[in-house]
Symmetry: D2
């Protein structure tokens, strides 16, 4: 059944499988998408893909060694081979590298991983997503496709331990805004979601970490992503913030 789904979600970055990327994958699978999972962690990738399939969804893993242009390009080619002729309607950039530390303590390795996750990677992923969207017809909402970036508070505000992390998050936000402006005219929808707060990635972590007044539920984030992918083209959102009800900000 699931192989008959008429559209594809591509999500890059699924962490250990308990966060935003995985929740987005699960919800879109339920909503009738074939789900293409891109990540570096092959174990998480395979496990999530199998979980979705066992729930009756359509999913496949597309491991990459990194988010360089050639790797991302190969992954998209494999996705096209997996579901030939099926349009990619939503693409979610959810990968990245987070480092919180005093500026002078931050290692070159973290600087480079941040650049890959927030500068080079999003550019590669956006190129492939947009090129795919451009080949496709409009859907019933008047959209060729929706590209969503998972941002953070650090995308709008630097702080004492986020010198490098915020540099990366700001960079992705700028990319998303530029692409929204450049490709809106081609009916391509680009979104930047500012996730402000800690995410309840493990439901057994105790009240402190799973209280929905104080932690973001990945499923709730996914519901907003899913809504954004369905917005009518006459009223598209580029940016919104998401935070728990009691979050201090």
């Amino acid at each position: 059944m699931s192989t008959l789904a008429s559209k594809i979600l591509v999500v890059a970055g699924i962490g250990a499988g308990g966060g935003t990327g995985a929740a987005v994958a699960r919800l879109f699978a339920k909503s009738g998408y074939n789900v293409a999972l891109i990540a570096r962690n092959t174990d998480s990738l395979n496990k999530l893909s199998e979980d979705i399939q066992q729930s009756g969804g359509s999913a496949a893993p597309f491991p990459v060694r990194n988010y360089s242009g050639p790797e991302v390009s190969s992954a998209f080619a494999a996705i096209r081979r997996q579901w030939p002729g099926v349009p990619i309607r939503t693409a979610v950039w959810n990968a990245g590298h987070a480092v919180w530390d005093a500026f002078l303590n931050i290692k070159d390795e973290d600087v480079e991983k941040t650049a890959e996750g927030a500068f080079f990677g999003p550019i590669s992923f956006s190129r492939e997503s947009i090129k795919a969207f451009q080949q496709q017809d409009l859907d019933e909402q008047g959209s060729r496709g929706t590209l969503i970036f998972t941002g953070a508070t650090a995308a709008t505000r630097g702080n004492i331990t986020t010198s490098v992390f915020a540099s990366g998050k700001f960079a992705s936000r700028a990319l998303s805004q530029s692409l929204a402006k450049e490709f809106g005219k081609q009916n391509i929808h680009v979104v930047h979601a500012i996730i402000d707060g800690s995410i309840a990635t493990d439901r057994n972590a105790g009240e402190e970490k799973t209280n929905p007044d104080k932690n973001l539920y990945p499923e709730a984030i996914a519901e907003t992503y899913e809504f954004l992918s369905r917005q009518h083209r006459s009223a598209w959102t580029w940016e919104l913030d998401l935070r728990p009800a009691h979050e201090k900000w």
Copy 2:
């Protein structure tokens, strides 16, 4: 049937009945709300209320002479009498006065109307909405109520003909952000929607003014407002923008 609806929408500002306020009223009526319409224009108010009722919805008009504290307070008292014991779950501030002109040409009357629509009025409306929300239990999403402000690009950027208009829109935005922070802890959700572009208020206005790539459909704005009123409390949005796919920004 409609009088059995278990929640109330209050919307202030419905213009001539073809814009955002009216579309929000119609959509929420379909979604099972009793719709309380507040506005100064009694004719539009009565006509919209009757239209909604004829479509099987529950609605009632609550005319005000202006948006001063006593007038708004009286309207909310009348709403409580109309639907006793029914919670107000969503309140939308959609009123305002728009003046685009060279600064030195703007008349005192326009300055005063702007202050009423963007400073005094939103404060009065927020007071009544929040006091109502505070009396209510949490709904299934963990919210006592959602207060939505209709903003504009002029809420984030002044420009050559918007000196006074932007002053007002900035003021409402600040109010909405402050209230979101102050009352989030009480599970009250406050939203600011930046409407960026011209709204297709008249469906017979010709392609130029009704092309959904270039004009916001009030129904599409309403769909986002309705989604925002249903967000789970673990992932609430304070602010988002809405614009047509081809809008230059």
Copy 3:
């Protein structure tokens, strides 16, 4: 000597005489300006005017009952009579009303005073300043005049006790940005200064309140205002922030 000064500073809002407005007045007097002091507090006004004169500066008090259009207009007419034919080169809006409180505790009187100080007053003051600037030749920097608004952090961010205060500060900021865009083309320079932190208004207040790492010195703010009034027209600043070195932000 001082009556021969070839330019005028108008400053509105001097509080008790120990803050930004007074420091600006003193510094500009030393820099060769006739200083026109506008405020509601006649005692502070007269005292500051006399102080400046005793230091060899040129100053005069112009009391107003409020910042309505007619009152501000009368003050500017009196300034022209005081120093006939002398150009107003700098005008500083430093007045306002500050209320920090829970939203539902804020009294109507505070709402109204905020509107006067942040919405109506700045509009009146800007009208008079700009009309005066428009009559004047360019100075050696290519400017007809500089209009400076004293802003605050609350001009860019609402918070839990600043619902009304931030509404006002946002409003003034929008006005300043709009005017900067509209009148830049007429070589009129408009500036918005975000004062972020507490001001050392009383030099005998003890280390806690006078430590320059933790408190803004009014004289230091005044030095930046004076620099801004001298910027060459090819590189004008609309907005900057000012805060003590150790301020948390």
Copy 4:
């Protein structure tokens, strides 16, 4: 004479010698700084250094092959050898790579140069500057040193041809804000200047490109940088914008 100057300016990025970096170097040399010039273009570097020396200033060239950590670190070591024991009081990051093009046309080489100029380079330069500042005493204004970033409008707003360029400029802005917050407590002053408009880099370019109402004069930018380096620590600026009087924005 010039070798007796008691403080050092380090400026990275001087282009062809007619823009901001060079003007900053010349003005600070006149104000009593030894000027350390860092750039990749050895010819421009040597020429500017000689020009400053011929005008009676103290300057020396420090060529780098790129802005990687080791190269920048070597340059700073050479600066210390050139003027042993003299404090670095101002450091200006003015380098970068600008690419304006449709997103899908931008070459990998431009993406990599942008990352070097706006992400890796500023991090390397900031590390060296801050480590130098930390070793120094406070100056008469209470500052250990001032680090200034030359930003652009693209640091605050992405646009249709600035997808990659804005990503870089946003990144540097985030870095500057984070560092301002982290190191303000150590009395290190970090500034981000948004240059909005075209710079009059060639004084013989004709009225269109040298009209001070429409183009930024590098000397005027330099005057603001010099003022910022002298601000008293009780009222420091993190960010300001600079644009010509008639600039549309």
